[in-house]
Structure formats: C-alpha cells, structure tokens
Amino acid sequence: MIEFNNLSKNFGAFKAVDNLNLKVSGGALFGFLGPNGAGKSTTIKMLTGIYGITEGDITVCGISIKDDPVKAKMKFGYIPDQPYLYDKLTGIEFLWFCGGLYSIEKKVLRQKTEELIERLKLGDWIYKRTEEYSQGMKQRIAIASAFLHEPDVIILDEPMVGLDPQSAQIVKKLLRAESEGGRTVFMSTHSLNVVEEICTDVGIINRGRLIFNGTLTELLKDKNELQNDFESLFIEITREKE
C-alpha cells in the first residue's frame, strides 16, 4: 500500500531522512515511532507532498507521489499534528468543502458526513464555527475530513496530542475498526501506550534511519526477552544507535 524506496531528505548538509526503505501492507495499522527530531514528521510531509524528496521515491497504492502527486493524494487522507481548519466555517461546512476538493458527489457526501458525525460523536458541534472548538473537537473534525472520500490509506501525524481521554478513545476505536476493515493506517506517535494498544506493525526511526521494522508481536517479544517495559525498550533501542 505504501512503499518508501531508498528515501532520503537533506536539508543542506543535514540528513533528516537517510535511505529509508519500508513497506506498509494493506490493512496494517502502522505505528511510526521515534524521538523528537528523528525524521518522523519529515517522512510524513514527504509522503503527503508538502516536502520535496531529495532521493528515492514514495508510492501510495502503486502511484508515485513524485510523478503523479494529485492522483496519489486521492488515495490517502491526511491528518496533521496541527490540523488547519477555516475558523469562520462550521464543522459541517468544512467537511462539505473538503468533500468538494475530492469531487465527491453531493448525495454520497451527505451520507458519508452523517455517518462520520455519528462515529466520531461530533453531535451538535458540527453546526458551530470551528473557531469555537476545543483541540479535541478540531482533531475529530480533521479526522472526519480525512475519511470522507473513503481513502485506501490514512496518514496521521501525532493524532493523540492534546486529546482528552474521551476523544482519544473515539479515535483509537475508529482507527482499529478501519484497519480491521482493510484500510491501511500510517501513524506517527510519541505515545507508546497507543502503539501497544492498537498497532499491528511498528517502525522505529532514529536520526533519519529506520532502526526497527516489524510486527508489534516481534517488538513485544524483544521487550519480554529484555524483561523491560515498553518505554525502557524504546529508550534502549534509540539510545544504542546514538
């Protein structure tokens, strides 16, 4: 579903991402972990077309983001760490606007928004201007907008930041259900608990290099062998590469 082939990103002399090779298969809920400045957000920004690629390529459902960015972007929905919403629009208007960007038919769009309002428990907030929303509500609207066109892939950059427990639970439930339904989820996060709770596959990046890639079961096996908790294991893995 998503393939990173010899992907590198340089900012001048600094190598933010160094020869990343990674395949995320269909239906996986992939947790992309790493300390601050490891290259997680840079990778996601290249994947979504916001950053250019220095070397290599990324394909989403076989479409290169470098060669055919508009077509590739049709295949995914993206939720950034700080979602951009138009303050003066209501939640529902924002969803309709986004639906328009993906050329979704009115009838389908109406059905889909109703379904997402229900699933993300947006309630009457959907008819208020987004400038009145809390961080959690903004995040839920951004998530709803990413699912509107039923993309094959969902990309999330730190989705749990600033969420209250109720919002976090709603988001986790949704992501797990979507992944079980066959949709690929690529999520960067700092929250090790979230990875342990919902992810099926894990990648750990440090200083731009992928230092672990496997299933959650494999990672947990390492944890048990080292008789560590998940947090200590993560610190251990990222430290030994320093």
């Binding site: 600094f14 950053y51 951009y84 328009g100 960007l101």
Partner: protein, 562 residues
Amino acid sequence: MKQTAIFIWYKILMFIRYDKTVSLMNILKSVGSFAVYSGFAAGSFFFSVKTLEFLLVTQNIGLFLFHQFLSVILFVFFLSINVGNIVVSYTTLFKSPEAAFLLSKPVNPVRVFMIKFFDNFFYSSGTLMMVLISFLAGYAWYFKLDLLTAVFIYIFGFFPFMLNAGLTGVLVLLIIINIIVKYGIKRTAAAVGLTYAAALIFFFSAASPVTLVNEVMKYYPDINRYFADLIPAHIRLLPNSWLSDTMFWISSGNFSAALPYFAGQLALTAFLLTMVTFTADKIYLKTWHRTVDYRESKPEEKIRTGRFGFGKGSSIKDPLHESVIKREFFLFMREPVQTVHLAVMVLLMLIYTISLRGLANIAAKQVQLYSLIFLAVYIFNIFFIVTLSLRFIYPLVSLEGKTVWKIRSAPVNTGSILLIKLMFPILLIMVISLLLSIFSVGRFSIDLILPVLPVTVGTVLLVSALNFAIGGLFVNLGEKNPVRISSSQGASISFLLSAVIIIFLVLLLYGPVHGYFTELRYAYERVSLRLFYQRSFVYFIVSGVISYLLIKAGSRSLERDL
C-alpha cells in the same frame, strides 16, 4: 473548474462572516467602520472634484499636464501594489498553513497558487480599490461622464491596471525566491532593491515633471491638446501611461481614441495571467519545496547578541523595561518580513528625497502653485509617517499573539508593557520622519525647517497613538503575519482616519505657507513666520494631548479585553 467554484463559494462565505458575538463594542465597531468608510468615500469624492477645479480652472494647467501628473501618481501606485504583493505573497504563498493544507489535498498546485494570489490581492487591495472608486466618482462628476462610462473605466481600466501590478509582483516573487535559494538572501535583496531603485530613478529622470511643465507651457494657452511628442516613447509604453491616456481621451470626449489603451491594458492582463499561470504550473510546487528546504537548512548558527543579550548587564535599570525592549528588538530584527519591508520603505523614501531635486523650481514665480507644491511634498512626508505607523505600530498588539498568556499571567500591568513596546517603533519612525522633513522642506526654504518640525513630531505621536488604539480595538491574536494584520479592516479604518489628519494639516498649513511665500516672492523687508510658529505649536500641544488620551484609552481597554 468545480474545485475553483467550491473555493470561490467558501472564500466568499468566510469573508462575509464577521464576528458573530453581538456586543455593544462589536455594534459600535461596525457602525464606526461604516461611518469612517462612508465619510472617507464622500471626502475623497469632494477632494477630487475640488482638486480638479483648482488645477484645471484656477491654475489652468491644462488637460494634458493634469493627466501626466496623474500618470506619475499611477506609477507610484503601480509600484506600491507591486512591492506590496511581493512582500505579502511570500507569506501567503510560501509560509501559510492554508497553502500547506491545500497542497496535501488532490488539488493542482497551480490552482492553489491562483486562489491564494487572488485571495491576497483582494484582501490587501480592498481599501485602495474603494479609494480609487471615490476618486473616480469625483473625476466622473467633474467631467460629467455618465455612470456607465465611469464603471467601464473602473472595470476595464483601473481594475486590470491594479491586477497587472499584482501579477507582476508574484511573477517577480517566483523568480526572486529561486535566485535566493541559489545566491542567498542578502545578495538577492540588494540586487532587487537596486533594480527597483534604478527603475524609479530612470522613470523620474525620463518623465521629469519640471521639463514637462516648461515644455507644455511654451504652447500656452493651447495646452489642452495631446502633446504625445513630449513624452519619451518608452514611458508611453508603461501601463500607468495607458491608463492616464485613457482618461485623457475620455475627458476630452473622444471615447474611441481611448479604446486602444483599454485594449492594451486588458491584453497585458491576459498576457500576465497566462504567464503567471504557466510559470506557477511549472515551478510553484518546486519553489514551495525549495523554500521549505532553504528555511530548514539554514546553518544553525549560534545567535550572538553581544553586549545587548538578555543575560548581559544593561544600562536600562528596570528589569521589566529591559526584558520588553530587548524582546521587541530581537523579534523585530529576526523577522525578515519586518526588516526587509522597513528597508524597502526607507529606500523608497531616499529615492523620493533625491527625486525632489528640481521640483522646488517649478512655478517658483507663481506663489499659489508654489505653496501647493510645497504642501504636496510635505504631505507626502506625512503620508510616509502614516504608512510606517500602519505597518509597524498597528500590528503591535495583535503580534503578542499566542504568547499573550505569559503577559496576562505575569504580575505586571498589561497596559504598561504595551506602552514600553510602543516606544521602540515610535522612536524609529520619529527619527526617519524628522530626517525626511528636514531634507524635503530644506529644498524649498531653510527657514521653514524649524516651524515644520513641531508639526512632524506631533503627527508622528498622533498617528502612532491612533494606530496603537485602533490596533488594540481590532486585535487579532490568531494572525501572526504583520503584513496581513496591516491590511485588515481595522487597519483600513486607521488609514482612513489618518487621511482625515492629513486633510486637516493641509487646511492648517496652507495659510501660513502661502503667506510666507507671498512675502518672500514680493521681497518684503521682513518675512514673518509668526503665524506658522503659532499654528505649529498649537498643533503640537493639541496632538500631544490627543495622543496621550488615545494611548491611555487604548491601554486601558487592552488591560480589560486581552
């Protein structure tokens, strides 16, 4: 096409949605804004009618000279819109979160570019468009043009003219950014600054008003005809010349002679639109990526603050004053949008001061006209003060932005912090304005420098206080871009109120200036400046008191509202 329609629909929806909270303050703001806009529109209308009457009837300068002066003003307009678009578009096209949001969607980058360009163009040129409509209405009234003709001139003359300035701006921006990435910001900024300065100097030396007035006056009284031969061919190829020629022929009653100029303007718009679309299609996304790379890859130099650093000892004894002054200084100096814009404005002022050479010689023997030229030059100085204040003082409160919590939660008086903040830009504007006044007034008469200085000082204080107070009233803590804050609705109101101060100054100074030049011209034994001194000191005192009250009221309301 469907995507574009969706963008336009939602942009209009967002534009018409103002603050929905119904409060007495919001109602007052709306009513006040309406009153200021209406008053200014009416004022501009009468001002343009009276100016036309004065120049064409009292002074009898003739249709041709009038439209050539108009051409010079339009040239300055063109460059202002052009440079303004370069500065603002950089932030809206290459640093805006909305552009990043749209680029992550399946939207063609060229569409993102054009939507952001037009959004920005209408947002930042709104007030200018309104001012032009009012002036055009006065023009149409004076020349007894019907409504349809006036609308035609606006839609097919003025609007494409402004659009051409904006389109040239973004085209230059796309080129500049790619040069910056290759050769660095300092060398590129110097090259661009020099190019613009050269263009200005070239224009003013080729289209010298002094030479033109002398040449046209040789044909007196037959001065209403079209003296095309007196204008250099390359100057006649500029869009400002096309627009002024369009108006010349329409005011002469020869609409068909104006048509080729309309066609030229529109053809240029079509050409520039095609060029911008084509260029953006080819390089906007690449340029966006390059901009990101350039921003992220700047070497992480250790910032040296020398003896002025926060940790160093300071001659400012009060720690609160020291912290705020140093913060303001560092934030200003480390924000390229602020420093580059200030540099551009100072450069424009330098060019303006240089271009005054010879202006004082025009009509030296006609006291009334000479007085008016003097006033026009001095009022242009005041206009610079207004522009500087609007650009650097109006956004001060809004720029506290998301860090306002730190001040609000600190055991200090918010108002007093904002006052300290205000000191730095006021001092900067004061120095620039005084220098400008000394050099420009000195071109006419050394004796006038001293009586003019209290007026300059009073105006700096008054206009700064006005911008501070209105900037606080229309505070927008969510906007980080100072240029966009300076183009907002509140800023337009502040600008229009400053224009009222300008008109008041013309009325205040005309008498003493005219009296002084009359006595000077007829070689009276003792030239008196008493009236000038009296008026300038009264103005200084009154403006000082009003400034104090405005700042006090502004800081009190901010303490309450922030």
